[in-house]
Structures are given as C-alpha cells and as structure tokens.
Symmetry: C2
C-alpha cells in the first residue's frame, strides 16, 4: 500500500475481529517495521513480544480489567521499553517506542489488519502492564507500555473528527 | 512510495542539502501526514510551523548554537506540543508528537527529501527551543520540541547499524 494511503486509512479500531489467524510472516513484517523506526542516539530501546498462542493471549488478556470492549483479536503485539539514557540524563524512550508504534500501526493497516494503541488503560495507576509483563516473562529493567491487538476487523475502522488543518499548521509564524 | 519501502529508506540525514526550494504543496502534504497521526484521547496536541521564508529560517537557525553541522536545508518544520491532560493527570503529548514526527519523516522520505529528528539538542537545559519559539511568535502554553530540516539531500541517507531482529522481537514470551 502506498504510504500516504496507509497514513490516511490508519485509524484506531475498537470493534470486533474475525477469528482468522495472523500468519507469523505478517507479524514479523509488522515488528520489523516497528524496529526500523528511529531511536534517540540509536539506543534501540524498543522490544516487542508478539502473541499468537491462544493460551498466552488469553492469559495476557485476563490481566486487562476492566477488559477492552469487544477485543477478541487472534494476535497481539506487546511493546516494551528499556528506559536508558540516550546521553547524560536524557531519555528518549517514549519517543522511541511511539515512533515504533506508529510504524506498526501503518504496517498493520497496509496488510489489511486493524489495531488500536492501548497504552493509558494498561499503564494507569493500577499497572495492569506489570501483570501482563509477568505473564510474558519480562525481566526487570523493561516496561511493558503498549498492547496492540492485531486481526482482521469486522467492520471498517473509522477515524475521529479532527480539527481543520489551518488550526494546527502554519507557515513562518505561529498562526501565520 | 510503498509504505514498507518508505520505512526501510527513512534514515536520519545529517549531511548537506541542495538549494532547491521545497514547494509549499509538499510541505503541506508532509504536515498533513503528521497531523493524521493518532493522539491520546484525540486531544490533537500537535501543532506545526513550516518555514520556507529564508529570513525566518536564518533567524530560527541562528538560535541553534552550537549549530547543526552542515544543516543548510531550504525549508524546515518546527513541531510544537500543547501539554494538556488526555484524562485526569495523564498526558500523552510526547507520544502524540512522536507519532506525528514519524509520519512526517516517512512522508519526507516518500517525496524524495531528507530530514533528521532534532530534539535533544534544542530541548536541552539551555532551551534553544524557547528562543526558536520566540522567533516564530509561539504563545505561552505551547512548547517547541523538534526541528526538522527539509530538503533534497546531497548524498543518500544511510542508516546506523541496528541490532538483529532476534535481539529485539520474540513470540509469546520475552526472549522466546
């Protein structure tokens, strides 16, 4: 799929999924896209665990309480970050995993799947992410920060209403 | 350009640029790509100022001290963030602008330009970003967080050495 088309079609999808399994080849392509993103000072702070074993997926999903409504995808990718300093006390781990996630959202879209960037719900004060990380055997020093269900959507993803371009982008001066 | 090709060809470019001006149509397409990215709870915290006026560009660039070596691009995009809470005390502004920047890096690549995500240098303790924001008339409440030079590269961008896929991505368990 053409880049600008993928960017235009990428939307957060919170509907149901078809049960069709996602071939590992596709999960690998999606993860390769994520890892191809830039990282501050090339520290490569992003780590990924794809889940396509139904038992593991059920155990991970059981940690998410309240559950993600209608989330029944046949596969998922969990995004881990290692919060190392890029230089001195500067850490760009959030920027790194966010760029990786955006690449994976686009790759998922281009391959005909749907997904949603679930971060706030699992990294909230009750730290569901730590329970999920425990299921996946994630060691100390890595934080699970995002859960991406991957599957064929039951219906077309649709985007939210966005502000007009002119309210967010200008030339040569703020508001210009 | 095809999505996966753009992802593979996107590299941080720190070399010189050709003087050819960047048509506004292309800068708009790049900024539209950025604003099409997801934002936490759709808060749309990302704002962009493209610079193609040579005088403004010179004034912004003069703030960057020490200068970015060989950075002589004919245009640039400055990324601003509004650090609002997505819900309660949760702010996803870094995630929002990082996804937007990654989209813009890919769009820049697809249109045959080169760029580099300059953030750490300008947001460091000496806050060059605040001087740059001042030149652009950025009001209180917005932070300038990234400078993206845009232009035709003198030589092909090349990526840094990256770890093997198997060191960063697994199935069903960390290290699995």
């Amino acid at each position: 799929m053409e880049l600008f088309e993928a960017i235009a079609l990428r939307h957060s999808y919170r509907g149901g999924f078809l049960p069709d399994p996602v071939p590992r080849e596709d999960l690998v392509r999606i993860m390769e896209a994520g890892l191809a993103g830039p990282t501050g000072c090339n520290k490569q702070t992003v780590f990924l665990v794809a889940i396509d074993d139904p038992a593991v997926l059920a155990n991970v999903r059981a940690c998410i309480n309240p559950p993600l409504a209608r989330e029944n995808a046949p596969a998922a990718i969990c995004v881990l970050t290692k919060r190392v300093f890029a230089y001195r006390d500067k850490c760009f781990a959030v920027q790194d995993y966010s760029a990786a996630i955006e690449n994976m959202l686009l790759a998922t879209t281009a391959l005909g799947y749907a997904t949603c960037w679930y971060e706030g719900h699992i990294t909230d004060d009750d730290r569901l992410c730590d329970q999920m990380a425990n299921v996946l055997g994630v060691p100390e020093g890595y934080d699970l920060v995002c859960y991406l269900p991957i599957g064929r959507p039951v219906h077309e993803p649709r985007g939210p209403k966005k502000d007009a371009f002119e309210e967010h982008a200008w030339f040569n001066a703020f508001g210009g």
